[in-house]
Amino acid sequence: MQRYRRLKILAAALLCGYAAAALVLKLTLRRDAEVFPLFAWSLFSTVPAEDTDYAVRILSIGGEVLEPPLYFQQARFFFEGTDSIAAFMTVQRLGDALKAGDAAAIAAHRRLLERQYLRGRGVVRYEIVRRTFNTLTRWSSGGFRSVRPVAALSTAGAGP
């Protein structure tokens, strides 16, 4: 019976502890709010009517200049994973790191982006751009309010 009482207390502690951890994660970590496998379960918490994101704009692939340049999501003919949310989030983290000037984070996110998502096509020259847009306008017309280059990069190793 003593063991069963301990189990009940453990169950209550797990529930309360998880809720508390979720609160702490949400309040302290900006993007995603999680330390695997703890997660605050903040999913679609705000409505992004007006939004800003970072994107990869590909300028050339294997020495061949793309005119006009292609966003990564449109380059499914060249790369795998263009529809991957993981690729999208990698670009957001790279954009955040560039904005913060965090060299270690830039190197880590860039390595993942280039080796995992921009691989297999020789040297790829690309820009990280910051876009602002109204979501429904972008959906209907594809237009952005602004597109601003943040850094010009290359899989050959040219720095920002």
Binding site: S45, D53, E80, Q116
Partner: protein
């Protein structure tokens, strides 16, 4: 312990205690709970076998490894992933054969953690496996006893019921957190004068944003973006289901209704936003359709009266319990 009981009764208010009737039929209820555990490990084995396809492309993969799998860098990614797959399938097979052995349940859970950690090591941690993973961790707490020993002793039977209740409560807590953050976000956005989760086009914006992020499309997504008003009631209903989900752990009459609603919610989300929560969908069905705590036959009025907030409309017309 008394304080815990008071909290439980308060959340189950008005009237009905969370597990009323279960204690009277504890043996039958614990057998039902054990059936849930057995089924979990059979499906766990299926998931482990299906996950073998995660090996595809591993030769050229360049993951940013999460902390549970950082050791893979030392061993080599390809060999490590193969080892994890073999370990997980073997452990899942053994746990499916002998789910009453705690060590095997723990090993199956460890295999799952390693496989999932590798899978989410590519720039974004997905969440479709989190609930399955936490439920697996809770099941490690089950008594390390054979089913016959569990059936023979009251404290073991009660332990099985408590752990199964814990998995239900934890899963429902996840939904309440999601709903809670949406409500918090709505207040913050309302203060800024932005559209909120309660706005008629909130669902349309969420779907459009998600599909634009990935440059993908979905069977129903474009329809709900173009006809945002049709999605509004659905979005508000989903918000209600999510926000109050945790209370359902204390109001067993609602369990089947809530699970049905949340499963419908996941199906619509899959069809509109391409988010795949298959394992979570299965968990809802497993834990709540055959819940050992749900009354065998739920009276319609009892269900209505137990509804959070909305139940107040019916409560005044008569006693809450029958």
């Amino acid at each position: 312990m008394r304080r815990l009981r008071q909290i439980r009764r308060w959340l189950a208010r008005p009237g009905q205690r969370g597990g009323v009737g279960v204690f009277a039929r504890q043996t039958a209820a614990s057998l039902e709970a054990w059936t849930i555990v057995r089924t979990y490990y059979l499906v766990h084995l299926l998931f482990a076998a299906l996950a073998l396809r995660w090996l595809e492309g591993v030769r050229d993969a360049a993951p940013a490894l999460l902390w549970p799998v950082t050791w893979m860098r030392l061993v080599g990614i390809e060999a490590s992933v193969a080892a994890v797959q073999i370990f997980w399938v073997t452990a899942a097979l053994l746990a499916a054969l002998w789910p009453h052995v705690r060590l095997l349940r723990a090993l199956a859970w460890l295999g799952l953690v390693e496989a999932v950690a590798y899978r989410w090591s590519f720039g974004k941690i997905g969440h479709s496996w989190h609930a399955w993973l936490w439920v697996g961790l809770c099941f490690v707490l089950l008594p390390n006893r054979a089913p016959t020993a569990i059936a023979a002793r009251r404290c073991y039977r009660q332990a099985v019921l408590t752990v199964v209740w814990l998995t239900q409560a934890l899963l429902l807590l996840f939904y309440s957190l999601t709903g809670g953050w949406k409500v918090v976000g709505a207040f913050v956005q309302a203060a800024r004068g932005e559209p909120t989760a309660f706005a008629p086009d909130a669902l349309a914006i969420q779907i459009a944003n998600r599909l634009l992020e990935t440059g993908s499309t979905s069977p129903l997504g474009p329809f709900f973006v173009e006809h945002s008003l049709l999605g509004w009631p659905f979005y508000l209903a989903a918000l209600y289901l999510e926000l109050f989900a945790f209370l359902v752990a204390f109001r067993p009459a609602l369990q089947r209704l809530w699970a049905t609603g949340l499963i419908a919610f996941h199906v619509v989300v899959t069809l509109t936003m391409t988010l795949d929560f298959t394992s979570q969908l299965f968990l809802l069905a497993l834990l709540f359709f055959r819940s050992p705590f749900a009354p065998p036959q739920a009276d319609f009025l009892d269900v209505l009266r137990a509804l959070p907030l909305l139940g107040l409309l019916w409560r005044r017309r008569g006693p809450w319990t029958t």
